[in-house]
Symmetry: C2
Subunit: 193 residues, 2 copies
DNA sequence: CGTGAGCCATACGCGACAGTATGGAACTCG
DNA sequence: CGAGTTCCATACTGTCGCGTATGGCTCACG
């Protein structure tokens, strides 16, 4: 069954429905499949509906990106920042990322579309914020400015690289046990005492 | 000057010319710009020329990928494998990658196009080979199977993640000095004594 | 009940790109 | 020198996706 036609028999649609459908399709198939007619099929309507809610495809992408960026910011970041001990905060960051992959799937899909003019600034902001959070934690853990920047960069590179390898390339086929062991290895390697 | 029209006034073209132009465009602008007419403009000819050398666009991409994969394999890998000491071999691998970015630019561009059916198997092979080289080196350095696999995965994730951050996102703007310091940090962190 | 606003279907135009058909220029070699 | 091979230009078709135009359905509300 190739047809992923999720004909949601809802009555009328709102702008938010289109944005959510865009994010779902983005996570499943990438930005290239986020087309007007593809989303219309998914929602069980035609283009006529779309162009009532949005003036253009770019407007939908822009709105969907803003929605994701907002959700990402206070779902992931805000919940970890209040942790006082910087090492515990770093560890919690790593553990959080290793679970609830849902938000990271979209992150990885967007990293695949950095050539798109609307995507790049968003990912630059998001990545810079996350790098800042990491750098601050390392600084509070006692590292000087230079060392903290290096460790933060290495940790974040490992994050985005791992997503690319496992989600897009599907390289390792880690089962749950192996994955947990790997995460623990990464934590002990990147958060030294 | 937006026009990157490199009108090479060469006489006739060969299949290899088209493959090289495809790799160049791939490195500069991504696979999406590797179109028949775009390459034709770059080479100063028209589509009529292309379809004499290749039956289809996919055939060109396939040939260009094989060319790159072959070149990559014996340029990067074969020159490092003969190093006897595994730690020195790892260090040399990291240092090599940090220079001559030319081949890695194409690697990064291809990682952005993993959704393409011709690209994914190539990148899977290449990545698996590199992972194997890393794993073997770590094993020879004294780590058990599990630890070596973890370290290799972390190192390779850091590699592909760093490429994505610096080349596609253009995040840090590291000058030469900072970059060397970062590479040294990565080496000491990922190749423990 | 009917009227206007909100939501959607249908049909069309347009540009980008893949691929085809065909003729022509240039080079080679007997 | 002439005939065949090689390489390329021109002109065409077909498809896909964006965007527009226009009309119809449905529900709220006076």
């Amino acid at each position: 069954m190739v047809s992923v036609t999720k004909l949601e028999p809802k009555g009328r649609l709102s702008s938010a429905d289109w944005e959510q459908a865009a994010l779902d399709t983005l996570a499943e198939s990438g930005l290239g499949v986020v087309t007007v007619e593809s989303l219309a099929r998914r929602l069980g309507v035609t283009k006529g509906s779309f162009y009532w809610h949005f003036p253009t495809r770019e407007a939908l992408i822009k709105a969907a990106l803003e929605r994701w960026e907002r959700r990402d910011e206070d779902e992931i970041m805000a919940q970890v920042e209040p942790i006082a001990d910087p090492r515990a905060r770093l560890r919690e960051l790593f553990l959080r990322v290793s679970r609830e992959m849902q938000s990271h799937v979209i992150y990885a899909a967007l990293m695949q579309s950095l050539d798109h003019p609307l995507v790049k600034p968003v990912m630059t902001r998001v990545s810079q914020r996350r790098l800042d959070v990491l750098t601050l934690a390392y600084r509070q853990a006692g590292f000087d400015r230079r060392a903290a920047a290096h460790r933060a960069r290495l940790a974040y590179s490992a994050y985005t690289g791992f997503l690319q390898l496992s989600l897009q390339l599907g390289l390792p086929r880690l089962n749950h046990e192996e994955f947990e062991a790997y995460v623990e290895h990464v934590i002990t390697t990147l958060i030294p005492t």
